[in-house]
Symmetry: none
Subunit: 414 residues, 2 copies
């Protein structure tokens, strides 16, 4: 049994992780939140108390930490006696936090791939550039490191594993579909930091097609899907973390990721991009000022955190898997629907942060109980999916299945 969790980060996803850990502190033990800006950790702690989300009386502490400083991170892990670290900070700190875990023996969980701030859209497979290089070190140290345990990547990897193990003999394709059908009521806003959001869509799109890495332009390939609850939605093929592990770990010729974008989003994005307003290169104004246009766009857009209180509607994220079972072609859609307003009422964040944060806590609980304490590095599809999906069901992210037999909850088969 592993106990005591150190959460690194204090943004929207960290807020969800902290609330959910607090709701399960009978399993997880002490809860510690650390970030560069301790005031943000304090705000999260206050909101946990305000909502009465600390299940049993116990430790809920905040700490100042620069997570790029490996020694400081090791010291905090030791001081807090944390045996599980949940890294939900900026994507630039993965490698230093992982190193601190390897050196202290703490289990490591993150929800997104490591990024170098100076590089956009590196060559595939992305995990091979950073995390997988430390796999041997994890195994040698007997350290459990679960990579990409958010929703996508994360839950969608478990959906893919479940499909491979239970619904198919051979896989033809996995299409991961992520649609936010919510409405924040503003003219335009991004759900994450606008700078990060726009950076994601200005580079190349990598997909796994016919067992090969394939390049496309953003918004080049469009596809409509008829989805449960949210209806027919337009998506575009987008690069995403999970393609880079699923293509290695599962025997499947096609893995693609589809992100829902409204015509309105694309129109605003296209205007800004074509005018040069998404550029990271400084330009000179006629008064001599040097300014980065993207930073000006960021400054005029709403702060994503400010959207949560008025966010309504639902998200639908899932895997459409095609392949053969008993010699017959079949198609299964495994998915979850989350609600923005319900998420906000429960943990003070909208559903985008909720779906990303809850799975990391589910992973921590499975490490705590030993079921996922594998003492090596693993992507989610390498771990047994059913225990994970069972915990997610209890934590507020139930799994549903739609196939030729209809649309039903996975829990009926638990």
């Amino acid at each position: 049994m592993k106990k005591n969790v150190l959460i690194i980060g204090a943004g929207g996803v960290a807020q969800v992780v902290a609330h959910k850990c607090a709701q399960n502190n009978d399993v997880l033990g002490d809860i510690h939140i650390a970030s560069r800006t301790v005031a943000k950790c304090e705000a999260i702690r206050a909101s946990i108390h305000e909502k009465g989300n600390l299940k049993t009386p116990g430790v809920l502490e905040v700490h100042q930490l620069d997570a790029l400083d490996i020694e400081a991170t090791k010291e905090l892990i030791r001081k807090t006696k944390a045996s599980i670290v949940i890294n939900v900070g900026a994507p630039f700190i993965n490698m230093s936090v992982l190193q601190a875990c390897i050196e202290t023996g703490a289990a490591y969980i993150d929800t997104a791939i490591h990024e170098d701030p100076l590089k956009i859209c590196e060559t595939p497979p992305w995990y091979g550039n950073y995390e997988w290089k430390r796999a041997e070190a994890c195994e040698k140290a007997g350290v459990t490191a679960i990579l990409g345990a958010g929703f996508d990547p994360g839950v969608v990897n478990a959906y893919a594993a479940l499909a491979a193990q239970e619904y198919f003999d051979t896989l033809d394709s996995i299409d991961i579909i992520d649609v936010n059908a919510g409405n924040h009521g503003r003219y335009f806003a991004t759900n994450f930091d606008p700078e990060t959001n726009f950076r994601e869509f200005t580079g190349r799109v990598w997909s796994w097609q016919n067992r090969q890495w394939t390049q496309n332009q953003m918004f080049e390939i469009r596809k409509e899907w008829d989805l449960p609850v949210v209806g027919t939605r337009t998506t575009y093929m987008t690069g995403h973390d999970e393609i880079h592990s699923l293509s290695k770990n599962l025997d499947v010729p096609f893995v693609r990721f589809w992100m829902g974008f409204s015509d309105h989003y694309i129109n605003v994005f296209t205007v800004l991009k074509n005018l040069g307003l998404l550029s990271e290169q400084p330009i000179k104004l006629d008064n001599g000022q040097e300014v980065v246009p993207l930073k000006v766009v960021k400054a005029v857009l709403p702060d994503p955190a400010s959207l949560a209180p008025n966010y309504t509607g639902k998200t639908c994220i899932g895997d459409l898997v095609k392949g053969k079972k008993d010699g017959k072609e079949r198609e299964v859609f495994i998915y979850n629907v989350a609600d923005h307003k319900e998420a906000f009422e429960e943990v003070g964040s909208q559903a985008i942060s909720y779906t990303a944060g809850v799975p990391a806590v589910a992973a921590a609980m499975l490490i705590a109980t030993g079921e996922w304490d594998v003492k090596k590095m693993a992507n989610v599809e390498e771990l047994p999916p059913r225990p994970f999906l069972k915990v997610l069901d209890k934590l507020g992210l139930p799994t549903r299945i739609r196939d030729e037999q209809g649309d039903r909850e996975l829990s009926s088969t638990f």
Copy 2:
């Protein structure tokens, strides 16, 4: 006889003014061009020599000037012995240049209303907020000051005066229609300084309806017109300078201005405006920099002057006047059609700059010959229209009339 012209400004309109003054330096005498950036003046001078547009050997000089500095402007007027100043700089310098003219006795001409950089769309009549407050000072000093002597305002005011004097006993309405049916081949660009252009369309739309000032939103009122040469075109009711003087100086219950916009222009404009990127108020970036968003948009857009070489197609600008003559209802459209390519070949600017700049030179020539040297402040409709339209005809902007008798050149009645 007044002689020697000082042109203030070095943008697209100034380029036209300088070329046209040079083509008529036998009437106008020495030509001086002054701007904050002297290199831009030098480029204009070089293009005049290149095109052989200096009619008779004479003075063509350039000067550095901050036209907000009244003393420096007075000094330059005296030094150049200019008796006519044509102000075609930014709309923020009108009042300081006018003051320099009042104090030195030079005649003053501009082509657009004065603006305070931090105010958009002030209360009507706009001239009452700035220029008209100096009318008494002009009269006392015996200084000729012709306001708004471009095309619109300017030539369209003369069209209105001509209609009132010759075609109608009573006026019902004046609809000024401005359509640019040209194509610059770029994703998006404004035809003159983007800052000035966008400022025109971000505020309320003021129109003179039933002898009252009426407010609407931009792009709220749309109307199609069947126009000579350019065909059926979509326009939107827009606020514009000339409404503010015509409503005072002519006895007419309705004065409206209609500007042609493509759906693409409106889309880009709407995105930028709704995001707050057209704001003239400074915002703070997360690095602490203070930046005016509109100036950033200006910096990323093409320099309007750069469009001219590839600009094709025509402009159509005119007054649709309705009223009674000899007890009968009638309708007259008085207009001009200009060609982008022809304008570029003659003076190196496109037709938008051409139509704005040529009338200012016509006004200067009428001051030089004494016909418009009225020794007071006047809007164009307060001056005899025929001499102005005759000079414009010779300078390249012929007037046409379309009514129940057909479509013909005004010159047939000269």
